[in-house]
């Protein structure tokens, strides 16, 4: 699968708070890279041949690229709002396509079965209709007016509530979720999945959050999000086929899958095929 179209994108490669001068070896799309802190305390990323790669530090993470990104890293205005707490959830490695990791994050129909009694529960399994669009100006996939009944929507929720969601895909391996913020109902809590493609069938997932929650201890916030992601991990490692199909084939989507359908269509339009398969099998 050609990586050309995705080579000029920004990808997360580490937590800024965990950088040291000794550095850490990781990889991007099959190429080993080194992520370290230089003498001035800035993040530095070098490619397998020693060449210096572009670097950004944003949303608690170090970002880099094997190519030359034409756009800046996508904005998340909520990250600049005073009063928010930022949560570095920590990396989890998954043997799955980076695109599958994102697509699962966009799905809500699995909540009662995979995140049982937390994000969903039988018999409240219905996915009501919601709105999906590809916003042409930003060139991003957006799902809005998503609603789901949740027994324990967040660490800050004191009981079952109908949560409202918005989903956003601003880059091929990143997704941003906006959900009802129990302590401040007029604001959104922001939960992100930043996915680092190590290869087409293995990725490092870096979840991050920007929340309004003055009560809950930081460690509890980290653990809540790790719980959710760890419940998804065994599903992700068992999906067939390994690579995300971008052509119609064996699967039959329903109305609940509108976001996934839009995401796959957007990937195909941009030729973002690293981690995808094109021929129906």
């Amino acid at each position: 699968m050609t990586m050309q179209a995705m080579i000029n994108e920004w990808y997360p490669v580490g937590l800024f708070s965990q950088l040291d001068s000794a550095g850490r070896t990781t990889a991007l799309m099959g190429e080993p890279i080194e992520v370290a802190r230089d003498a001035d305390g800035n993040a530095k990323v070098t490619g397998g041949d020693g060449r210096v790669l572009p670097v950004r530090v944003r949303y608690g993470h170090v970002w880099s690229s094997l190519g030359e990104p034409k756009k800046e890293l996508f904005p998340i205005p909520e990250a600049d709002q005073p009063g928010r707490r930022f949560v570095d959830v920590g990396v989890v490695r998954v043997r799955c396509s980076p695109l599958r990791a994102v697509e699962n994050f966009l799905d809500i129909a699995h909540f009662p079965f995979v995140h049982t009694d937390i994000l969903g529960a039988e018999p409240h399994t219905e996915v009501q209709n919601y709105k999906v669009e590809i916003r042409e100006e930003e060139d991003e996939v957006w799902a809005t007016q998503v609603k789901f009944y949740q027994p324990q929507a967040a660490k800050s929720a004191s009981g079952g509530i109908t949560t409202e969601y918005m989903y956003r895909v601003p880059a091929p391996t990143c997704s941003v979720l906006y959900k009802t913020c129990p302590p401040r109902p007029s604001e959104w809590d922001v939960i992100t999945l930043f996915v680092q493609p190590l290869a087409e069938d293995i990725c490092d997932v870096w979840p991050w959050m920007a929340l309004f929650d003055d009560e809950t201890a930081m460690t509890d916030l980290i653990h809540f999000q790790q719980t959710i992601f760890l419940q998804d991990r065994s599903i992700l490692e068992n999906q067939i086929p390994r690579l995300l199909p971008l052509d119609p084939g064996m699967e039959i989507p329903t109305r609940a899958d509108l976001t996934s359908i839009a995401y796959r269509r957007w990937l195909k339009r941009h030729n973002y095929t690293y981690g995808a398969q094109l021929v129906a099998q």
Binding site: A109, H110, P112, F113, V114, E122, T125, E126, V127, I235, N238, Q239, I240, I252, T254, R255, A256
Partner: protein, 162 residues
């Protein structure tokens, strides 16, 4: 997702991911995300012919030409998996498989039969049956004999590989 990760309720098998449930004919009965929807006929999973005979489960790939082999008086003991091919297991047992697929393995513990079935990545499923129900002690000895057989077979397989 493989349905083997799923769950059985009544006579339906449901997928662990979104809970889509399927009947014995392979048709989809229910999509929990759309409770009011009657799933289209096109949503179905492949099924295979299955028979349970003498405590052994047989699956047919395609349309079977005949019924599964019958055997009288064999008591099923356990199933184990070996990183060895059928040839290595026959060599370790000192016997070849009969036309029905049995390998008679006369462990000093009493006659034991093996039903072998090739699995993925060069592995073999070994189903161990006893010729007589001689009680727990005999069963335990036979189980350990089967483990010894597996050790020998895997050793032989490693030699073949080298």
């Amino acid at each position: 997702m493989r349905l083997s990760h799923g769950f059985v309720r009544g006579e339906t098998l449901s997928c662990i991911y979104h809970g889509w449930s399927y009947g014995q004919a392979g048709n989809c009965l229910r999509i929990p995300a759309h409770p009011g929807l009657t799933p289209p006929e096109t949503i179905r999973v492949a099924t295979h012919d299955v028979e349970e005979t003498d405590s052994v489960i047989w699956v047919a790939v395609g349309t079977p030409a005949s019924k599964p082999p019958r055997f009288d008086g064999l008591t099923p003991l356990r199933s184990l998996t070996a990183f060895a091919g059928i040839a290595a297991i026959e060599a370790a047992a000192g016997a070849k498989a009969s036309p029905e697929g049995f390998v008679e393995f006369d462990a000093s513990t009493g006659a034991v039969c093996l039903l072998l079935s090739a699995w993925e990545d060069g592995q073999t499923l070994i189903h161990v049956l006893l010729k007589a129900d001689a009680g727990p002690a005999a069963g335990i000895r036979a189980s350990r004999a089967a483990e010894s057989l597996r050790r020998r077979a895997e050793g032989l397989q490693r030699e073949i590989a080298q």
